[in-house]
């Protein structure tokens, strides 16, 4: 992680631009890569992640598609089996549910099912999100669903640097990779080198060192973890953040090593509570490092409630970072420290003031 000053001195891109640049560079490098999805070549370019690709590569390699998620996922699997490297995009993860037959039954299993003869080098980009009244069918966080399936790889980069490097790694990977991007990350800015580079799949990363508690987090929740860590640092509580980055195959070792040091674990995940990925992290750490922990591990997730649309309800639905601070203080037995009050002037249904909808 770079601080603001370091970022100012280096080349920066938004997360969306980083995805776009990764796609362009991978397509330049390998002519078997193509990108397909509802709206890929359209003027808004999937939140700016595919802008300009059509002009560079033409309609043969930059394709819009019929609204046939299952059929076109199968098509991409067949293309991958026969030598191409497709990138399929879904503007909402919810849309991918129409294609679970192809993802789970074919993409994930083909290599195993036929004894390792043909693999499926396929990237499926899926956008998760929150806020702006997207409601129950346009802003789910279903990473746990895909992380459950052997044969898939599931990545959730939390910053622009990783977004580029992990997308390039995903495109070069010979397996199906579910690449999950949070809508509220698209406009975040980070240092992104101009050259092509890979961030390895299957490695979590300690993004800030600390000694009192480990926060393990996924995707956008890592930004919340950083807010928590920054506040608590001023109050004398030292937080270590492990950005999980890859859900499958999971690098639990980095998390366990961190917990062995801090003796405490809080997991932040944007999915549902029951059967969610936070539960998986807690199980693994408890199985392998129970005796190191001073206090029961905790998780903050979405409640087991479908997402409502009204901002009047979502403010009770999404966990606020002050709630995370409260949980940490309880775990480190520093409840004497003041919890910041919620600034009612800051709207809770947008990532920042520049976001004005409509989707």
């Amino acid at each position: 992680m770079l601080n603001k000053m370091e970022i100012n001195q280096k080349r920066t891109l938004t997360y969306a631009q980083a995805i776009c640049e990764a796609t362009e560079q991978a397509m330049l490098e390998d002519s078997s890569v193509f990108i397909i999805g509802e709206g890929v070549p359209d003027p808004k370019g999937i939140f700016g992640t595919t802008n300009g690709l059509l002009e560079i590569f033409g309609p043969k390699r930059v394709l819009d598609m019929p609204v046939s998620e299952n059929g076109l996922t199968g098509m991409c699997i067949g293309a991958a089996l026969t030598g191409l490297r497709p990138i399929l995009t879904h503007q909402r993860i919810d849309f991918s549910l129409l294609s679970l037959d192809q993802i789970i039954n074919n993409a994930a299993k083909w290599y195993y099912m036929f004894g390792g003869q043909l693999s499926v080098p396929l990237v499926i980009r899926m956008v998760i999100g929150r806020g702006w009244g997207q409601g129950a069918q346009h802003s789910q966080n279903l990473q746990a669903l895909f992380a459950h399936i052997p044969g898939l790889k599931v990545v959730m980069p939390s910053n622009a640097y990783d977004a580029k490097g992990m997308l390039i790694a995903a495109i070069k990977d010979n397996n199906p990779v579910i690449y999950i991007e949070h809508r509220w990350l698209h406009n975040t800015i980070d240092y992104v080198p101009k050259e092509i580079y890979e961030v390895p799949i299957g490695k979590s990363k300690v993004i800030c060192e600390g000694k009192d508690i480990t926060i393990a987090s996924t995707s956008f929740m890592t930004l919340e973890a950083i807010k928590v860590a920054k506040y608590l640092e001023q109050e004398g509580v030292s937080v270590e953040i492990v950005d999980i980055r890859t859900l499958r195959p999971l690098d639990d070792e980095s998390i366990i090593n961190s917990v062995k040091k801090t003796k405490r674990l809080l997991v932040l995940d944007s999915g549902y509570y029951t059967g969610g990925f936070a539960g998986e992290i807690i199980s693994r750490v408890t199985e392998k490092a129970f005796s190191f922990m001073d206090v029961a591990p905790q998780r903050i997730t979405l409640p087991d409630i479908p997402t409502p649309s009204s901002p009047g309800l979502t403010k009770y639905y999404y966990p606020h970072y002050t709630e995370m601070i409260k949980t940490v203080l309880r775990m480190v037995e520093r409840e004497d420290i003041k919890i910041p009050s919620i600034d009612e002037a800051v709207p809770l249904d947008v990532p920042d003031k520049s976001f004005t909808g409509p989707f």
Binding site: N70, M75, G78, W110, Y112, M113
Partner: protein
Amino acid sequence: MESENLYSLFKNLLYVRLVEEKIVELYPEQEMRCPVHLSIGQEAIGVGVSQALTKNDLIFSNHRAHGHYLAKGGDLKKFFAEIYGKITGCSKGRGGSMHLVDLNVGFVGSTPLVGNIIPVALGAAFTSSFNNQGKIIVVFLGDAASEEGVLHESLNFAKLKNLPIIFFCENNLYSVYTSLNKRQPDRKIIDIAKAHGLTSFEVDGNDALAVYKRTKEAIESIKFGNGPVFIESPTYRWREHCGPNYDNNIGYRTEEEFLKWKERCPLEKLQLNLIQLGILTEQEILSLREKISFKINEAVIFAKMSPYPSKEDLIKYIYA
């Protein structure tokens, strides 16, 4: 040429039939420990189609794949070994009868979920077109697959992109125990393909020569630039949906219906034809039978003698 064709069709029909009958004979031993969906009665389709294809062309299939695999030239020893769950099987014992593959002859794979393989074949057709490979892709589907949404999605995209693919529908009138008229209204399945703008043919699924000719026509049409083709063939499976037995006694179809179809046995019909045309004598047919049976027995012995995959093998091939 015609007689060579007829001979080759007959030889392959006999081959598929004898392999399937060997499974019928050995299945009760309980050593083939996986479901088997036999193609007896329907062999003419896989045989006729494969005769029209080159090694370069690709086939994708479904749960009833034995005939398609064998007709395309899939390795027989690896076939039996796979059904016996052995490491020497075509999928190294991970697939069983429902997941056959032989990349050396362009049999890319079979999967048993209804309709599930259709879009995968579509992707191979996309690659053929993308890379100007000139390959023809054939995907076999049953009548029930036309009830799956994914067929419509695939027909739509195939026509949109003018892909070199033949959707071959083997209409055997039943989905497990449920007859077609309980599942679909009174309209033809090819009408669905026609509505998507595909060139569509019907052909007698019990006539290997007719299937061969129709497939040739389809290939020419694709090469001419007319895009994907849909072919529907009425046919009939003789034995139970899954397993080696007859099941006309359990009440979902009648013995009379079965006997009517049995009279139209694709193998007997062609055999009679060959004898009448003087292409083969009964004696030659007998010796052909013996030759094939010998090869089958060899493959069965190979399969039975082969080891199971080891414990270490379990975790292989999860990721490439």
